[in-house]
Amino acid sequence: MNPLQAQELVIDIPGRDDGEALNFSVQPGQIWGVLGPNGAGKTTLLHTLAGLLEPRQGAVFLGENSLNELKRRQISRQLGLVFQDRQDGFPATVLETALIGRHPWLSPWQMETGADERIARRALEQLDVAHLSDRLVNTLSGGERQRVAIATVLTQAPDTWLLDEPTNHLDLHHQVSVLQLLTEQARAGRSVFMCLHDLNLAARWCDHLLLLFPNGEACWGPAKRMLVPAALERLYDQELLTVEVDGAPLFVPVKH
């Protein structure tokens, strides 16, 4: 697979100084977590990495090529994105929604075949929403819709997964099973890059972390090195208690 790489990347957040240029490379098998308070630019970073927003400076590379040199279709065969919010102007069923993940792989003249449908159905099963296949997406609960969105990207089968708050709306069990699924993807040689709000999920499942500060400052590296309580307290402007559970740090906000 082609690793996703940010080179001298400055994301474009209106009214904010350039801050620090990002230089990192997401290698096969890695799981990256992006942490930061509201408005730090996590979603903007994700959309810039997917080529949906122009960076203010620098470039994003997929392997040898910068995203600007690639056609959207080529990008979408390597890079999948789970959005934080979804719009549904028109009613569509769960199966139809998952099936659009096959779009990058079909030529304009091709119709979806039984094989495509099998891929979509398998993805829905893996996300535990297969029983909802014929339901309209706008009638589902938030957590169910989140899992359908992840199933759509699983159907798309990209080498690099970008996810914006994948655990949003999910109950504890499904949070864990989604992160487990992403871990399996990474073990199979793909890579995962996601924004997370839950510090402890990030500490437990990510091997690399990127901390994004509201003023544009940023630092990144292996998770063990990044999980410094003082840095995290400054990141969220929140005092934290640290305990060790199961060999991993657990962060708890201090109650006054």
């Binding site: 056609k71 009613p91 569509a92 069923t93 304009p108 003249w109």
Partner: protein, 323 residues
Amino acid sequence: MSRPLTMPLLILALASLAAMVLSVGIGSVSVTPGEVAAVILGEGSHLQQTLVLELRLPRTLSAFATGGLLAVAGALMQVLLRNPLADPYVLGLSGGAAVGALLAMLAGLGGLIVSGSAFAGAMLATLMVFGLAHGTGSWTPSRLLLTGVVVAAGWGAVITLMLAISPAQRLPGMLYWLMGDVSYARSPWPALVLLFLVCLLVVPLGRSLNVLARGPMQAAALGVSVRPLEWMIYILASLLTATAVTMAGSIGFVGLVVPHMLRLVLGNDQRLILPACALAGGTLLVLADTLARVVIAPEQLPVGVITALLGVPTFLYLLYRSR
């Protein structure tokens, strides 16, 4: 998707054929379906030949083409604006066309010049809305919609002004044009060819349109070049609407109601919905035009009145039922 696409289209095609035979047969002189078939095969009496081939068939085909074009344009606009309630006229197209047509009528010109002027007006309105909506910022559906609505209101004022200052003897023709009337239509063939070409075009474009209906960001993430596709839909829908308006004046509700009803029954796969709109929109307008000819025969109603009378309650009902 997995459900067969051909069956609904086959049923709709048969329905349009039946509607056309009915429409050609009904009138001051009745022609049976058998006689219609005979005339089309080159037989039948001279009177029947003239009646069918020169009077009724061109009108029926014009009605079909107009209805089909409007319904397809409506369906395309709805995908473009991600709004199931969009209509081919919502962006002020018919207003521009009407001003063009009325100007020509006011100048005492007729026939081809009215049509040409209407077409020019529609295209001018298209460019104006697109240019203004583009503005200095981004090109969002809500901005396009708002610009279109405001420009349409402006056209409305100009139309009222023109009606107020025009001499009384020209008023009936103008009002008929404004309400939509297929009897003005000339050759139906260019419009029919256009309709057919568009239906062919949606085969390779259809899946991209399906993805675009999920929003531009999602579509881009799935490999659709959103901006060129949106431009293409906008130009195409404008061209279709302008052609329809030029043929038959402004006929409301076909572009709104037909795609909406078909989506309720057939789902939202554009590869099915767009050809189905062409057939169902055509059928609806053929039937409405037949009704307009016979309800108070020998007088005729403008077909736009019929479609609005049918469309308003249907649409309100759908809106009331919608979640």
